[in-house]
Symmetry: C2
Subunit: 260 residues, 2 copies
């Protein structure tokens, strides 16, 4: 099933997508809800980011080849994480499908996408076993963990490298019932394929993270977990469009514009 | 003015505190609101954390003497931050005035408070000048940035060291119209004073952070900025009560209990 959050006129609601039609739903996808009789053509509504997360978790370094190749670029030894230590990103930076990623005036050339699978938490979860880990995940969407590499290397935290306004495109919608271990992530810059990797080829997979996290923290409906990226991301230039497809979910597409 | 968020029976609302009385308010303190006729004795309601933040910012390392003394404990050279790079904490960890800080079974002896001033954002702010920086701050509360030091030193991120459930007491309420540069922060463990410092003696003050942050990120009503701590925090033991007073705001008091 495909769930979106959309705006039509002044009304904002969740909706169920069926082909070219979206039906408005009252309530939350992961809570009590009921279908309304209001339907729209998908092309006539504005898709919003599928949710504003309560807590915005992000795995960061989580694909082996990404670690090896990024280290090689810095002439450094690759350093693999020893355990699933989760990190955070910031809700202020979230934008929706189609909205512009704004490159700040003082951002450098190494202004890059990171294509990430996003798990949407649908149930409260604490002390979860490996077997039941995925039961708390409602569905899946796509995230672009936009990064300015000079800031990432030089600042004490990742705040402006990763969380400047518009640096966290998320969408286009949430798809339920998928097996993330069978999916591929494909990135295009203005139509040219720049990355293509197995989505499930993680150092610590979604279950690993959920087991480790819920030993200490309670996951709540509406939290999101971004799962990291593979490969060596390319620079994005103003005027290009960054498209991230994850098979089974869809495509998250955002143009790059210069700060006014 | 003192604003709290409270629960009475099943009702949750904001309220204005006047002496021993709280008057329920409809709406948000930093938005449209109106006083109701419902009043309660303060002792008869349950105080909640004053808000669930949209984005939970935290300055981290931000007092000179804290940096010097914490480095000395590790036989390391003190390393001062060169600019106000903001960090993040996680909403899942927030608890209210009076609620228990739960020490995990595998947490070590170095289980410590950090007494912090918290700025509550009340207006949308981007590209703010130093002169107008404090205009976006609605009021002030107190935070306890509970930290497990072994995890803090050993993990790749601060997630469980700082953001385990219950590790972020915040409250007891929000006070408006204060000058944080004239306040003192006093910490007691079960009545014994263990820290006492000038709240405003920061490496980068609130204005510095707001100017730097809003060059890249938009602050939104309901965001919070925790401003860091001074001194060398003491270990908290199960059975003790940690009280943080900031003059002009009040006292945030939380008992330490063992994980069941």
């Amino acid at each position: 099933m495909i769930w979106c959050r959309f705006q039509s006129g002044k009304d904002v609601s969740y909706g169920i997508v069926d082909g070219e039609t979206v039906t408005a739903v009252e309530g939350l996808p992961w809570g009590e809800h009921r279908k309304t009789t209001r339907t729209h053509r998908l092309g006539e509504v504005k898709l919003l980011a599928p949710l504003v997360p309560g807590t915005f978790y992000c795995a960061g370094v989580n694909y082996r080849s990404h670690v090896i190749k990024m280290a090689a670029k810095r002439n450094a030894e690759p350093k693999f994480p020893e355990k699933p230590d989760i990190g955070y990103r910031s809700p202020n930076a979230i934008i929706a499908q189609g909205e512009a990623i704004v490159k700040p005036k003082d951002a450098g050339e190494e202004f890059q996408y990171e294509a990430e699978l996003v798990a949407i938490v649908g149930k409260t979860a604490k002390n979860v076993s490996r077997e039941k880990a995925l039961d708390c995940i409602f569905g899946w969407t796509i995230g672009n963990d936009v990064s300015e590499r000079v800031w990432q290397r030089g600042d004490r935290t990742l705040w402006r490298a990763k969380d400047t306004d518009t640096f966290k495109p998320m969408g286009p919608w949430i798809v339920t019932g998928l097996d993330y271990k069978k999916m591929r992530t494909i990135v295009k810059l203005s139509g040219r394929v720049v990355d293509d990797f197995a989505t499930g080829d993680m150092i610590f997979n979604v279950e690993d993270y959920i087991v480790a996290m819920t030993k200490y923290v309670t996951l709540h409906p509406g939290d999101v977990i971004w799962m990291g990226t593979d490969g060596v991301p390319s620079n994005m230039k103003v005027g290009e469009v960054c498209e991230i497809e994850i098979t089974g979910i869809g495509t998250l597409s955002n143009p790059i514009v210069a700060e006014a």
